[in-house]
């Protein structure tokens, strides 16, 4: 018995210590990015200023003055929010139908939806540019960005929601039906409250994916609807290698979403199951 308690005592210190070390290693690059953003461009590449330097906010003031950070940031917020909202509006009824009234094609439809996400964006870049610009005339509009972000995330949204809805006992929904509740009532009064955790974490994950999308947002916009991804594209290779400036722009682009993630991490941890928990 003595050995067991000893080893577990050791384990009580060792395992948490290891967890802490791994967590710090994983976080280090982000720390380094933020840290570098307070260095001048010249100091950022000098070994003698690796850890000790005079911090400066110049990179940030420069960014907001010269690169119109807020315009990009506001576009990111608008497009990501609305895309998430629309994806849920379209996705909740679809997932509801698939979960509670599955047909023999439901599985195939779900898989087909997911497979649309694997289509290589580069292959359809040119048709998409032509279509949106010359035929539909919606190139570089918020509408287009929202639509595209919504569509590329819709399969994941439906799939996630489907897996949550499946956890809900069918009888609860059936009971509603017996009481003569309309379908809309079922969704609004029974399903959504019951699956609220799942819906919230789906929304969160979708928002993250929308915010971080770069291929389409950069290539289907110029000015009006350009998001933070475009700001990064414009700054990642200027004349010279300005680590300080690059770090500041990068920090400013990822900070909102990382902070949002921190605040909602409990929600994410609780809800991100993809139906994996039985």
């Amino acid at each position: 018995m003595a050995t067991v308690s000893q080893s577990s005592k050791l384990g009580n210190v060792l395992w948490p210590a290891l967890a802490w070390i791994i967590a710090l290693v994983f976080f280090f690059p982000i720390f380094w990015l933020v840290f570098t953003s307070f260095k001048t461009d010249a100091d950022a590449v000098k070994p003698e200023f690796l850890f000790f330097f005079t911090p400066t906010l110049d990179n940030y003031t420069n960014m907001t003055q010269n690169y119109d950070y807020w315009r990009f940031a506001i576009n990111s917020v608008i497009t990501s929010s609305f895309a998430t909202l629309f994806a849920l509006v379209v996705g909740v009824p679809a997932a509801y139908a698939m979960a509670f009234n599955p047909s023999r094609h439901t599985k195939d439809i779900l898989m087909w939806m997911l497979s649309t996400k694997m289509l290589p964006a580069a292959a359809v870049l040119y048709p998409m540019t032509f279509l949106t610009k010359n035929i539909l005339g919606i190139y570089d509009t918020h509408f287009l960005v929202i639509l595209v972000l919504c569509l590329i995330n819709l399969p994941i949204v439906i799939w996630m929601l489907f897996t949550y809805f499946k956890e809900i006992p069918k009888e609860i929904i059936e009971a509603g039906k017996m009481d003569g509740v309309s379908t809309w009532g079922e969704i609004k009064d029974i399903l959504i409250p019951l699956a609220w955790g799942g819906i919230a974490s789906t929304a969160l994950l979708t928002f993250i994916f929308c915010w971080n999308e770069a291929y389409w947002t950069v290539r289907l916009t110029t000015i009006d609807a350009a998001t933070l991804s475009t700001l990064i594209e414009g700054n990642r290779a200027p004349e010279g290698l300005f680590f300080g400036r690059l770090a500041a722009v990068s920090t400013a682009a990822v900070a909102p979403i990382v902070i949002l993630g921190w605040f909602c991490q409990k929600q994410l941890v609780a809800g991100l199951t993809f139906g994996a928990v039985k």
């Binding site: 010249a42 590449v45 000098k46 010269n66 870049l125 040119y126 540019t129 032509f130 610009k133 010359n134 190139y139 570089d140 950069v218 290539r219 110029t222 000015i223 350009a226 475009t230 594209e233 414009g234 700054n235 990642r236 290779a237 200027p238 004349e239 010279g240 290698l241």
Partner: protein, 389 residues
């Protein structure tokens, strides 16, 4: 430029929206917009490779300016490079050639010299003498990052100076010629032995940072680099030569053009006229935030005659000489227009494919012969696919 142009907006009431993108993404964006009939951009920033081809394809509008613009003041090399059949399609915002920039203190300490149009052997000997990796100094910093406008810009000039060319008279690729083999072997040897680690990832931006950290003995790159260099001991030399009529210096310009179909074509034209005028050079030189050290060079002969410019730009004479000696015209050796590129629509595709092979040879993933054989095969496939033969 954005800041200087604030005055333009104040004067004319024309508001300007700027889109800045990484070079590769910029090309992709501008190409897909222009090729689908334009409309997104009123003014595009393109290079000397694209300008004549896009002009020929009718993608961009011909540019004609008033007498005050003094188009004859534009350096002939730039004007020709941006024209197709005598019509100007893009106005140069800045132009450049390439030259050797080296640290005089290091060459003196090592007891070597680098002369104008020196031989490659001497250049290599100087790089070897300055090379001191233990103290973080590398003999030669050269481009190695794969890209037709990156490593291939420099590599092509080396090949040119060895007497080679991309294509023969029938436009068949000639990448396995003795000249290419000699040039690439030399390049891999020089940069592999006396270059900084990770050279296969370095292009202009990366090397500029290295050079300003005092890590490079010499750097052969765009003349414009000289205006960004901070070390006081920088000296310049005209690009090396291997005994051929053509030296190892390139010719390039970033230029502004108006896509056909731009709804604001007149305003765009007027802005270009202003932004590439003599007055613009004065505006930058006299601007409190910029000054004469930041004026765009390589475009107008008159810039080089301005005393204030001469006073701050120590590299001006060397740059002018390099631009004037660049030879873009087609010759017996190379049947196409362009120094470090060929002014044909397929070149970016060929250049990209070869660039990756040369980068593989540089990092030792392939031998030079293997890389060139693969390059030749790829280039041959692209050219025959494009209908050249």
């Amino acid at each position: 430029m954005q800041k200087v142009a604030e005055a333009y907006t104040a004067d004319t009431g024309v508001t300007l929206n700027w889109v800045s993108l990484e070079e590769g993404v910029l090309r992709e964006q501008v190409t897909s917009d222009t090729a689908t009939g334009g409309g997104q951009y009123d003014i595009i920033n393109i290079g000397m490779q694209e300008a004549p081809i896009w002009g020929a394809a009718g993608w961009i509008e011909p540019l004609e300016f008033g007498a005050e613009y003094d188009v004859d003041d534009m350096l002939p090399a730039m004007r020709n490079g941006l024209s197709h059949e005598g019509t100007l399609y893009a106005a140069p915002f800045y132009g450049e050639s390439s030259m050797v920039m080296y640290r005089k203190d290091l060459t003196e300490a090592a007891g070597v010299t680098i002369a104008d149009n020196d031989s490659w052997d001497n250049v290599k000997a100087a790089a070897a003498a300055m090379h001191d990796p233990d103290n973080g100094v590398y003999g030669a910093c050269l481009r190695g990052k794969p890209g037709w406008g990156d490593n291939m810009a420099f590599v092509t000039t080396v090949v040119n100076s060895f007497g080679g060319a991309w294509f023969d008279a029938d436009m068949r690729p000639a990448l396995e010629s003795d000249e290419w083999k000699a040039a690439i072997n030399f390049y891999v040897d020089l940069l592999g032995n006396y270059g900084p680690p990770g050279s296969e990832g370095n292009s202009f931006n990366e090397i500029l940072a290295l050079y300003n950290e005092d890590k490079c003995g010499m750097w052969i790159d765009a003349t414009i680099a000289a205006s960004f260099l901070e070390n006081d001991n920088v000296a310049y030399a005209q690009s090396p030569n291997a005994g051929n009529p053509v030296g190892a210096n390139w010719l390039w310009a970033w230029a502004m053009a108006v896509p056909t179909g731009s709804p604001n074509s007149e305003a765009a034209h007027d802005f270009i006229e202003w932004a590439t005028s003599k007055a613009y050079i004065q505006a930058v030189g006299n601007h409190p935030d910029f000054g004469w050290g930041s004026v765009p060079t390589g475009t107008r002969a008159s810039t080089y005659a301005i005393p204030e410019f001469q006073a701050v730009a120590k590299f001006a004479a060397a740059e002018m000489a390099a631009i004037e000696s660049a030879a873009p015209a087609a010759t017996d050796i190379k049947p196409y227009v362009g120094v470090q590129f060929a002014a044909i629509p397929e070149f970016p595709e060929v250049g990209t494919a070869v660039a990756q092979e040369i980068a593989a040879a540089l990092s030792g993933a392939k031998s030079v012969d293997e890389a060139l054989a693969a390059s030749q095969a790829a280039a041959d496939a692209i050219m025959s696919e494009a209908g050249y033969y």
